[in-house]
Amino acid sequence: MHDMEQRLAAWRKTAAAELGHDDELLDELESHLRDLIVSYTAEGIPLARAFDKAVGQIGAARGIGLEFAKIDDRLPPAGIVTSALVVLMGFRFLYNIWTARSHDGQEYLRDLMSAGFESATSLILVTALLGVSHLALRLFYKNPTRGERRHSRIFLGNYFLAALLMAGSIWLNQAALATQVYPDGTWLLPSVAATIAVRVNLAAMVVWGSMMALGACLGFRHLSLRIKSVLVALFPVLALFGILGRDAFSDLPNLFVFGVPIQLFLTGLGLLAAVIIVAAALPAGCLKPYWRKRAL
């Protein structure tokens, strides 16, 4: 019997890796597994075989996790996120074209491609902070699920890509400014790629992060804790982004977003995000699992 308890604990650990550390769900599945084992042993099947049979009858935790993912109607459909990103990107490029329309030739291209990069130092700092906070969470929280690991890789990849491209773009622009020479299109492609990548990354962090956080905290308790923890860390950092942005953009008084000076817009966005995450997280008990860790 002792052996069965050990096997049950091992099974639970494996299931937790796929389903997240949702103790209630794991308790429920374990209870079902025990019912099956009792019924099989009552039929005269030896305990060890009854256990294997019961595990087979419950089914793979991965499949159960996928079914739970399907009923999660609070997570934003990918289409909505993509549309939001496209709209944001479109807005950004229209804005770039609008501000650069009065220029011509190389000056036009420079304005078009380098728009926003005057503030690259603060953007790199924010990206680095996001990456560091994420890495800290990775070190602190053990036993991530496969889904959590995948999201973690995507987030870290995004931070790295954003920082790399921003740094590259600064270098290109600095080099061009220092020499007063804009090579004939050779820097155009990396600069365009940098602009797009950075904007997509930042927009994705804001749009996807907001929606996921709301989805996570308004009731979908099967969303992995790792993702929740990343989001909890993300929003205060965005608030910091607002504060940093205010100073960093102070030499660009003519940038407006929806009629609001960009400094105020970024500060407001960061603070609003921080308020939303705290307001949504605390009543919903989203943070509780971080100090209520069950020994498996």
Binding site: H32, L36, I58, G59, G63, E67, F68, I71
Partner: protein, 111 residues
């Protein structure tokens, strides 16, 4: 005869609701009841029942509570709500309609 996967999935909600209409129950017992009534023909992978139960709870068609089994083990019991009873009636009408339609369509050919 084994049911198609799609049909098993589509019938899971009315089946679970209808079992719970008989009274409070829990995961393992719900599956046993369906197996018994279908003569063992409708068989789920047991774990797949729980996403359905949790979805029903989210729809507020069922409520759950933790209780104890006869042997003193922890067990989660589900009960149908008033909304769940209404949903069961609606499901019943829909499945009856499908049944009636198919019965009429197939009757002449196989009579």
């Amino acid at each position: 005869m084994k049911l198609d996967k799609e049909l098993v999935a589509a019938s899971s909600v009315p089946l679970v609701l209808s079992v719970l209409a008989e009274g409070e129950s829990y995961g393992y017992a719900i599956i046993q009841r369906v197996k018994e009534l279908s003569g063992g023909e409708i068989e789920w992978s047991d774990g797949m029942l729980y996403p359905v139960l949790h979805w029903l709870e989210k729809q507020e068609w069922v409520t759950s509570r933790w209780g104890e089994s006869d042997s003193g083990r922890k067990r989660k019991y589900y009960t149908l709500t008033e909304g769940g009873r209404k949903a069961t009636r609606e499901q019943r009408e829909q499945w009856n309609l499908v049944n009636r339609t198919l019965t009429q369509l197939w009757k002449p050919r196989y009579a």
